[in-house]
Amino acid sequence: MSIESCPIVLTVNGETVIENVEPRTTLVDFLRDSLGLTGTRTGCEHGVCGTCTVRVDGTIVRGCLMLAVQCDGARVETIEGVSDTGEIADLQENFRLRNALQCGFCTPGILLTAQELLSRGGMPDREAIRLHLSGNYCRCTGYQAIIDAVETTARQRTGTNS
């Protein structure tokens, strides 16, 4: 029990990280400020906008609503990690072709959120895609291009014809 920094050991994008963190440091600030993983961003810091979405132990979480100290022993993945492994290369390419992003600030969070839906398999309909992304704010696109790009990826992955 300490107000001072606590040691944590975790894997981030497959690398083991050993750091000391203040208990009050959120996961997103830890990733950005301590590890320089600036692909994850803060949009509202109160859990509404979804911009800070990252994966912890395989599921997406709000990076602003989890403390870094809670991630001791966890497996954390960010947009940099899933880009380097190629896990979502097809989804990223479809976002690019469809111009499903403009300023790009929300995009990493949206990609990780969409990937969670896609990784369940099956062919989600547009409404299901919209529902799954209902907690990710994008001011630029009006969402339709995002839904299109996710739908296209789902179709390609499942071999479904349009």
Partner: protein, 798 residues
Amino acid sequence: MTITPDSPSVLTALDRPNSYIGRSVPRPNLRRLTEGRGSYVSDTVLPRMLHVVFVRSPHAHARIRAIDTLAASKAPGVVAAFVGADLTEVMSPWVGVLTHLKGLKSAPQYPLAMERACWQGEAVCAIVARTRALAEDAAALVDVDYEELPAVADAETALDPQTPVIHPELGDNLTFERRVNAGDPDQGMRDAAEIVEATFVFGRHTGVCNEARAIVADWNAAEQRLTVYQGTQAPHMMQNLFAKHLGIAEQQVRVITKDVGGSFGVKVHAYADEMATVAIAKLLRRPVKFVADRLESFLTDIHARDHRVHGKIGVKKDGTITVFEIDDLTGIGPYSVYPRTSGIEANQVVNLTGSWYRCPNYRALARVVFQNKNVMCQYRAVGHPIATAVTEGLVDLAAARIGMDPVEIRRRNLIPDDGYPATAPSGIKFEKLSQEAALQKIVTMMRYDDLRAEQERLRKQGVYRGIGMTTFVEVTNPSPTFYGIGGARISAQDGVTMRLDGAGTVFCHTGVSEQGQGTEAVIAQVAASAFGVPISSVRVIMGDTDNTPYGGGTWASRAAGIAGEAAWQAGKALRANVLALAATILQAQPQSLDLRDGIVVDAASSRERMGLDEIARIAHFRPDTLPPGFQPELVATRHYVPRAWPFAFTNGVQASYLEVDVDTGFVKLLRHWCVEDCGTIINPLLVDEQVRGGIVQGIGAALYEHCVYDERGQLLNGNMADYLVPMASEMPDMDIGHVVTPTADSELGAKGAGEAGTAGAPGAVMNAINDALRPLGAKTLTEMPFTPGLILRAIGRI
């Protein structure tokens, strides 16, 4: 995937071989952004960088008796604390006026409040510390002794004699007033068979950029230079303002703008806290970072709209509109925002209302008043959604009154497509619009008659669907008459410098900037097409006042039309230079050659003669082999500014199809259409997504977004849980179509497309809701946002 580019067939000088113009080329910067490799100001870290946090007034209006920063100064990690007077040493105040908005007045504004705080959220004290968290810890220890003053919250009573005057030295709370009396409005009233009136209310809302305002200012005393990393839409404008108010030369200031997480007009103003950050960096001689948090953003990012418009329309039995009359009142906070002023939105409402109809009779009054709320200023589609909703709301009411179909009344009154050029009663000038063609196109796209039949059928089953339509015009490509003429140093022109490097690659430097619209792609497409190289050979450099031609930046839908034309001309000029060089090498006539896809060819036969890489090699490394006296010119710069017209007006039409749940008052958006005419379409995919994004912003205004203040000037919903932005689940799919009417003022012929969606959507949704509820005898809904409570009250359910 449904990419359905509605490509124009209009190709003139642009029809170069291998042209990228009119093609949905993916943006070159997108791979970087999808992989989290963007570089936003909020990501920026510099050596020795400090963080500043602001203590903000909790009161809408209060005298600052004293500020005690002693405890804060001693807190861990704190480097300095500043109050208003501390910053006046290095920074002068500013006043947000423009001389061409006659009578517009405002008071001096300082980086930190001096003796008074004039809105809830105004910064009164700055704490600088090693980290943001430590600065926040210390800020909590600052003790400000406030004497609360009466707040002017309601614009309606701001001019009453018993209301306190916010800036006594100005005499009253009237910021700006404009009147128009055109044609013969009284005769128009007399000629009308029916006069319909309504009061339209537009809620205050705000931009909610996903990346909040962010700035890192670095004063290097050894260089006597200020470098500012800022998420701004207008780097050169900010360079000028920082220099001017720090009392240094412009060349001592460099503004760098990399990726910007959304702007929408929010990031094109001088904000007091950002000016304070710069002043503090100068005082501390080291980098200082300020990133607004979300709660600060709601209190300090400019708000917009908040207009109350009484409107009247006169109409004959045959549908002829005989008169428009409006009385617009808007409260803009305690200061007119610098340097673009807060008079522009009301001015646009006056300029635009009714302007695309033939009716010559128009009376307008706009009054802009001070109040103790956050400042208001230009936000995407400035004034357009108001003018459009008022005009089109009145037209729909008139149609209903005389029993005419909404499409028909518009057909009868729009300025015909062969009726241009035209001047509207307010004085604005249209080069050429295509309202009739656009209306016809949307009617076909949406299968208007079928929808009407479906609506009728469903009504019998107790399902209330509505179809709402708006025609509109859009201000783009502003000329110097927008700001420059009023004394603001905001460049109306833009330049593009193209330089050929030793490998045959082209660097394209431009003063416009990118906040997601696709500026980088557009400039690359035009430059590649004009010059004659693959787009992969073009690299666009923007957002750096040290390294780009002086320019205006990206706002008012000007980047593609203005910098695009400059790129077109620069590309042609550099091509001429390269062909002259090639001709020398090949011993041919320059005019017999062309540059196509990076290869010099015989223009007539397309026979390949020489690669650009080889030409670049010779020019850079073996110019000794060229004839004596021949100097290859490997850089070309061209500028462009619109001159023939004050603005390149575009036009369009939108339609909304929705269903109102008459039990709950909830609105379900079923589909939305937009046909717009932005002239030459450089990249259909980018245009369509600009329009879609804009529509959803407009839908936000119509249904969700509202900065709710109480009577004491307190913002009640300044967070993302309570301020409702549009999210994916509730938004409709949108179909976009185009009519193409290039402007003859440039060779490229491109106009802007950024405002269209936001301009037309709120009115379309409003008209659709009223259309849905008309059979229920509902009171007409004219107050945005249309919440379930308002809708249920209108139909008497609560």
